[in-house]
Symmetry: C2
DNA sequence: CTGTATCCTTAGGGATACTG
DNA sequence: CAGTATCCCTAAGGATACAG
């Protein structure tokens, strides 16, 4: 890298990320949407971390306000509400995958799913693209 | 990517990361150590987010317990304590840089530091290596 | 300088009932 | 199904003083 000695160590951009990803519930909701194909209130409630309804509503509002979730009425069933990941949310995929790789490498609890880490490290861009495609498939399926 | 349809969507490894990175203060302390070259209690206290002493002590203990910080007495000055990032912590660099890039792309508040995002996206590995080297330099300087 | 200890306050959040 | 609305309560955390 050609780069002068002082990197982005001034006005550090991590604080913005900390405000969103540094919140346990936002973190997990983003995971659900980006990696688990979840889109609806009830699906979020089913997650093993057992978020309660008031907190869920609060975080959904926060994520929508932050431009990460796109709230939409289900075109097929009016009483259903769906939350789609925006472009801004999708752009977090590389960071999330990075954290997943890290977990599989260092957490004894999570049994490494086959060769996930290796696959990612070998070609991160392809891995991200694969997840992008999964998201597209979920959204396309829902939107009919 | 050759990969069967079901990715790591079982026993999702993000929950472990959520326990550490999903905590605002741990997140910021990791940032300070990995990106800002901070190593000591007083340096952490100086961060703009103004962590209070009891919380700082609590998180330092948590991060040491989790194997991310290596607590050591300053070889030159016995009353000084230093916290070095372990290999496990350093392995979070890619994820952190990913979040920095994301922030510079989407947060209006953080004025993009020149071409940081572009530089990273162009060659992420080189960028990580550069930060690794910065960490090495800080540690070497301190250790004498 | 690196912490403990204490006090005190507030906000986060669980449980639950209720509504359109 | 997708939320609101309470109630309640604990734990997080700010401020400050103190200690080795």
């Amino acid at each position: 890298m050609t780069r002068r000695a002082k990197p982005p160590w001034h006005g550090c951009p991590t604080r913005y990320a900390a405000g969103i990803i540094g919140d346990k519930w936002c973190f997990l909701l983003l995971r659900d949407v980006l990696l688990h194909g979840k889109r609806s209130y009830s699906e979020f409630l089913e997650s093993p971390e057992r978020i309660s309804t008031n907190i869920l509503a609060n975080r959904l509002a926060k994520l929508e306000e932050s431009g990460l979730f796109d709230r939409q009425i289900d075109p097929r069933k009016g009483s259903r509400v769906l939350y789609f990941p925006t472009h801004k949310a999708r752009a977090l995929l590389p960071a999330f995958l990075g954290m997943m790789v890290w977990s599989t490498q260092f957490d004894d609890q999570t049994e490494a799913p086959d060769s996930f880490a290796a696959t990612f490290l070998e070609d991160p861009n392809a891995c991200v693209a694969w997840y992008e495609n999964e998201i597209d498939k979920v959204d396309a399926k829902i939107s009919g």
